[in-house]
Amino acid sequence: MRPVAIVGIGRTKFGAFPDRDLRSLGIEASQKCLEDAGVKPEQVEAFYLGNFAGPSFVGQNHLAPYIAGGVGITGVPTTRFEAACASGGSSFFHAFSGVAAGLYDVVLVTGVEKMTSQPTPKVAEILAGAGDVSGEGKAGATFAALFAMIARRHMHQYGTTHEQMAMVAVKNHSNAAKNPYAHMRKVITLEQALAGKLIAEPLTIYDCSLISDGAASVLLVPLERASEFAGKPVRVAGIAQTSDFFSLDQREDITSFAAVTNAAEKAYKAAGVTAKDIQFAELHDCFTIAEIMATEDLGFVKKGEGGPYVQQGCTLLGGPRPVNPSGGLKAKGHPVGATGVAQICEVTEQIRGAAGERQVRNHDIGLAQNIGGSGATAVVTVLCAV
């Protein structure tokens, strides 16, 4: 295994774009990324695409060459990776593996999703396909319902409150207001978050991430060649993708995601760090309870202390360990296949010190955590300054 660096990032704005199709979003992020790295399409040796449900959302299959060709990348392996909401993280993990193993030197990873062309109940149904459709799906479980059941259990076992969950939403909206790429740049109050329309009790609309269109890209190269490229390099210090039993009713304890703790352990070991070394993080806040759980599963705090951690302001942009400076899935938006790659873009930009108004104070080492489904896939990545 050889060291790997990110030398380019590119993003579209996230949002609801009735005039944009999936391909144009994927192409825009890819081109911005190549431009950042100073790379021409013909230099790209492999293309990895993260996409959850293009075939269901827009009726298009065979998506990797569909987008790569639009960028001018041909004659190389182009492959789509699907791992539900961890599709982006999984494509990044596999691209990293290809460069680390010495198979390729210049690899482009793009994550994309076009979701807003479908009405919300249809989106909920497509997303529910990332759960066990023959089990929990037949009982009428949506993803909000699964995370609501996690929230209820977390509240029962640890005394976590809905107010603490709402504080995650307030914080992430506040951060997104400073992010030009964010879907919803609107500050909300705690009262608003608590009084939102019920989605799955106790979760309100403000506990749920957004249905968004968008794309994000990163360019990976061997660290030893990083200086040949235009973009300021950031090192992929450690990364792991792991899995767990598929549905919640197959697990002993649903207040923790074993795939996340497992991936974190491996990524920390590879990076030669511990949880306390992580200065800031982009976490998978598909629902507010998921961010609270992630701070526990990643070892930022002990199990059950995630609620008080957000309540005490520890994860605020100006706090001791900022979480989701981008605004997270909650407010930056959650175009499913783009999410894992967008997290890597954000951590890279923060480490470069180029995040403007939302720049975190200490930015030498950051983490991204991306989960698929109700935690059956997890990808944890530690990035550090070169």
Binding site: T120, E125, G135, A141, A200, E201, D249
Partner: protein, 74 residues
């Protein structure tokens, strides 16, 4: 898909769904729960009748369209 009757169980966790997927739009709001069966194992189930909370005892009612339905033991 097994359609055999299930024994009683205890509520491990629950929620009431207000924003259903397309297929169950007409059912909402409905209660969903993970039931720990006395005989072992867990099932994601619908709850009919009275709302339940964590720790409540429930009895199996029937399978409908592949999903188990339970009700609160009174």
């Amino acid at each position: 898909m097994t359609q055999t009757a299930l024994g009683p169980g205890t509520i491990y966790t629950e929620t009431v769904v207000w924003a259903p997927p397309e297929t169950y739009v007409n059912d909402a709001p409905y209660q969903l729960a993970i039931v720990v069966l006395d005989d072992g194992g867990r099932v994601t189930s619908r709850i009919i009748g009275d709302r339940v909370q964590i720790g409540d005892r429930v009895d199996f009612v029937e399978h409908r369209a592949g999903a188990p339905y339970f009700k609160k033991r009174l």
